[in-house]
Symmetry: C2
DNA sequence: GTCTATAGAACGATAGAC
DNA sequence: GTCTATCGTTCTATAGAC
């Protein structure tokens, strides 16, 4: 048994069976190991789920890190938008997990998308922003992430289709289209 | 026992205990009735949850119906945005339920926000739209709803604060700000 | 209609052999 | 490390008395 395998299989089970039907029994059946073995590596179901969240956020962060260093900021924001969407389309398991875990008690302390938002913020904003502007960025980021989740939930998970380039552009423009014009810190 | 009471109490329990800890036992304890009694009125937990969804969507629709008939369309869209946000801030139970139920197997057939989106669409668009434009509206509506859920999740449910008028205006402008200018069917 | 009592299954987690 | 076996609990749902 290997921790990363367990995490990946857990994501698979949650996507297939939905959260409320994802038991230790289902997970070990999928992994073809014994319950005792899983509990040797993870002390509880909560710990397993917490590591699944950590893995998911790291995977997204790794994927976005590749476009982090672009110099043209406007281009940067478009690339980040596109990269995030294409990543979540490819990793439906992570997309479904992040959506379905919102509001669950399993991850309580981690407060879910908070860390992901923080990641984004660090990539998008400069260090020396006034708080008023920071608040506006935080609001925009929340709106942006919510839109991405909802649009991909409807299109990728329900209708099984990827977004067109035009649709990604529409999403980009709604949130970051006006920001590029004035170089106001984003 | 009365069906609407059961539905309201169920919303309360889910908000307090989270979805995975909301059992028939917790619901009847809260209602101070017996399990047998609840099952006399609802044939299963799934049926109860389905009725909770129906109730929630109807409550939102009723709330929005009041601004439906405004003649100035641009003003209409702002009022709808504001009304929806203020309603969900007031009814945290419904807000939490809609967020937490996304991707669960309880409501499978109803596909969750689909009905709410349909409601919106009927209120926003004219009858005779070409499909290309209709698709764009559908995308915008998904983005809009996703943003509202995510922003209210972060602010109302986690930070326990209502949005400012400026924030609501920001949300309105991101989605409908440009639409009003050209009278293109919305 | 509403209750009590409980069936029957599934759950998270552990003990102990290997 | 990995297994089998099972503990103790909780769950949905039902039977049957009132």
């Amino acid at each position: 048994m290997n921790r990363e395998d367990a995490i990946k299989m857990t994501l698979e089970v949650i996507k297939e069976k939905k959260l409320e039907n994802s038991s230790i029994g289902e997970i070990v059946k999928k992994m073809d190991i014994s319950p005792g073995n899983l509990y040797y590596h993870f002390k509880s179901k909560n710990e397993l789920y917490r590591e699944v969240l950590e893995y998911s956020i790291n995977e997204i962060a790794d994927s976005l890190d590749k476009v982090k260093l672009d110099i043209n900021k406007k281009n940067n924001l478009f690339q980040l938008t596109e990269k995030l969407i294409r990543f979540l389309e490819k990793r439906e398991d992570i997309l479904f997990f992040l959506i379905t875990m919102k509001g669950s008690s399993y991850l309580e302390k981690k407060s879910n998308s908070r860390d992901l938002l923080l990641n984004f913020k660090n990539m998008l904003v400069n260090q020396d922003l006034n708080t008023e502007h920071e608040k506006r960025i935080a609001l925009k980021l929340n709106m942006f992430l919510g839109s991405v989740y909802e649009v991909l939930y409807e299109n990728k998970l329900l209708k099984k289709r990827n977004l067109t380039s035009a649709e990604i552009n529409e999403i980009y423009l709604s949130f970051w289209g006006n920001e590029g014009k004035e170089d106001n810190g984003i």
